[in-house]
């Protein structure tokens, strides 16, 4: 689903390496400074970028953001709150003989941490909403990731869709024949589908291998990777951006 958005984003045609450097660089800055103000700045910046360049509905946004937000909030709470017999400086809720309590220091750190996490997530969302998986393969190639891993991703990525398609058509065909009458029929339909999916996947993998062999496959998947040119303007913009951000990080850090 995120991939679909990435395909229609206005930054799709830009060089994937450029986008990765931008997103990962910002992410690293975020993590190193771990500062509430700086992180909020990045969060807002990324939000604005995504709003301008990626067309998504509000519904989709909420859908995308709700899981990480829940996760961050829950984990922050566990870091924030201590169970102790002595009340700490921030607040304390007495429960019988013990306190649910947190120090002022602790509250500050947790806030910083939570905000950093949000900002980092926004960086990664930026990358995944503007760069389809196929383009990320180019980046992996550039950073000299082993070709075995790249080839695996290439094949898995394609066949996830085929498998999902097959599964959904089998599921529909089963529903047409009343597979969802009751719990029992539902379960048996599911188990049969999984079994046949496995067989089909095996069959298909053989067919694909044959088809690749037919085109002189020699054990290595040689394909051309698309690499749009990075313009001088883009390079300068990226350099300027990081210069500014580092400066900002230093100022805020002091």
């Amino acid at each position: 689903m995120m991939d679909k958005i990435a395909y229609s984003s206005k930054l799709r045609e830009k060089n994937p390496c450029l986008k990765t450097v931008f997103a990962v660089g910002t992410l690293l800055l975020c993590i190193f400074t771990r500062n509430l103000l700086f992180s909020s700045f990045i969060l807002i910046g990324m939000g604005l970028l995504l709003k301008t360049y990626v067309k998504t509905s509000l519904h989709m946004w909420i859908h995308l953001i709700v899981v990480p937000i829940l996760f961050v909030i829950l984990s922050t709470i566990t870091i924030l709150i201590n169970i102790s017999k002595e009340p700490l400086s921030g607040f304390a809720v007495p429960i019988g003989a013990i306190y649910l309590t947190a120090s002022k220091e602790g509250i500050k750190t947790s806030c910083n941490l939570a905000m950093t996490a949000f900002a980092s997530i926004s960086c990664l969302y930026f990358l995944s909403l503007t760069t389809p998986v196929i383009d990320l393969l180019t980046v992996l190639k550039v950073i000299r990731c082993p070709s075995l891993i790249i080839e695996l991703i290439l094949l898995i990525y394609r066949f996830i869709f085929i498998l999902a398609n097959t599964a959904s058509s089998i599921h529909t065909a089963q529903k047409c024949r009343l597979s969802e009458t009751n719990y029992r029929t539902l379960l048996s339909a599911w188990s049969q589908m999984l079994a046949i999916l496995f067989v089909l996947a095996l069959k298909r993998s053989r067919a694909v291998y044959d088809a690749m062999e037919a085109r002189c496959y020699d054990g290595r998947i040689n394909v051309l990777l698309e690499m749009p040119q990075v313009s001088i303007k883009e390079k300068w913009m990226l350099g300027g951006y990081f210069g500014f951000m580092i400066l900002l990080a230093i100022i805020i850090g002091l």
Binding site: D3, Y7, R12, P132, V133, I134, L154, L155, Y157, R158, F161, I162, N165, R204, A207, V208, D210, A211, M212, E213, A214, R215, C216, Y217, D218, I221, N222, V223, L224, L225, E226
Partner: protein, 283 residues
């Protein structure tokens, strides 16, 4: 002209014992348009796999340009760069989610340098009208578009023989027309094209040579006009006669047309005959 492909007494037995091909022999000259006919499971696809070197016949030999296929790594790679195969199911052929990557695969395997390959990919995308959807991921393409990519996959390797396994099955009329145009262009380029199909009308109009299979055996070989008039033969192979032939024969039987006329190749020709008859009557 020289014989480009020659299949000699080929048999193929699958591991489970099914005999998919039984003593098949035929040869084809360069540039000939060949159609394989036969019901499902008659051995057409197996024969294609044998001709590409994916399967090795259990008995018999396949010759390309007079030389038998060498079943070693180098020999097979060389053979496969000359004999391309477009599979029936594009989803079984396209392995990459990117159209551009997908098409570049074959030509890079042949050792062409990247810059040249890039130019060739762009050219073939232009030629096969892939440009409008080249940026889309493969899983978002329609069946017809996938077929176009599958053909580009093979055509980019500029083989001298192309095998198309039911190229227009499951395509809409627009894409069927498109694919047939591509096939005609291959023939113009001098490529020897083999097509397996169930479309009798197309086989009748297009082919120079027809080979009919049934249960792994070669039932008949010849020119379409010679074979398709034999009603018993065609029906015994689980096929039906082309519409033009059927109609022509029926019109002759009813005395509307006379058998002296040469059997028409297309509906258009038959139409002309009938119009001619009408004019004769009104005179």
């Amino acid at each position: 002209m020289k014989e480009i492909v020659s299949v000699q007494n080929c048999s193929y037995q699958y591991e489970d014992g099914t005999e998919a091909l039984k003593n098949i022999s035929f040869s084809v000259r360069k540039g000939e348009k060949v159609v394989f006919l036969g019901g499902n499971g008659s051995g057409k696809s197996t024969l294609f796999l044998c001709m590409n070197g994916i399967l090795r016949p259990t008995r018999g030999e396949i010759l390309l340009d007079g030389k038998p296929i060498a079943y070693n790594r180098k020999g097979l790679l060389q053979h496969r760069s000359k004999v391309g195969i477009v599979f029936q199911e594009p989803d079984n052929q396209l392995f990459s989610a990117s159209v551009y990557q997908e098409i570049s695969f074959g030509i890079l395997n042949m050792g062409v340098v990247k810059e040249q390959a890039h130019v060739a990919v762009k050219e073939i995308m232009e030629e096969l009208e892939i440009m409008p959807f080249q940026k889309k991921p493969v899983h978002c393409l329609s069946g017809g578009q996938k077929k176009q990519v599958a053909i580009a996959d093979v055509l980019i390797m500029s083989p001298s023989v192309i095998l198309l396994d039911e190229p227009t099955s499951a395509l809409d009329p627009r894409h069927t027309k498109l694919v047939r145009r591509f096939i005609d262009r291959m023939v113009e380029k001098g490529i020897t094209v083999f097509v397996s199909t169930h479309d009798m009308d197309y086989a009748y109009e297009w082919a120079d040579k027809v080979i009919i299979f049934k249960n792994g055996e070669r039932m008949a070989l010849g020119k379409p006009k010679e074979l398709f008039v034999q009603k018993e033969l065609i029906e015994s192979c689980n096929l039906v006669q082309p519409t033009v032939v059927k109609l022509f024969q029926s019109l002759c039987q009813h005395g509307i047309l006379t058998r002296e006329k040469e059997i028409p190749t297309t509906m258009k020709e038959l139409e002309q005959y009938l119009i001619g008859e009408k004019e004769k009557h009104s005179e």
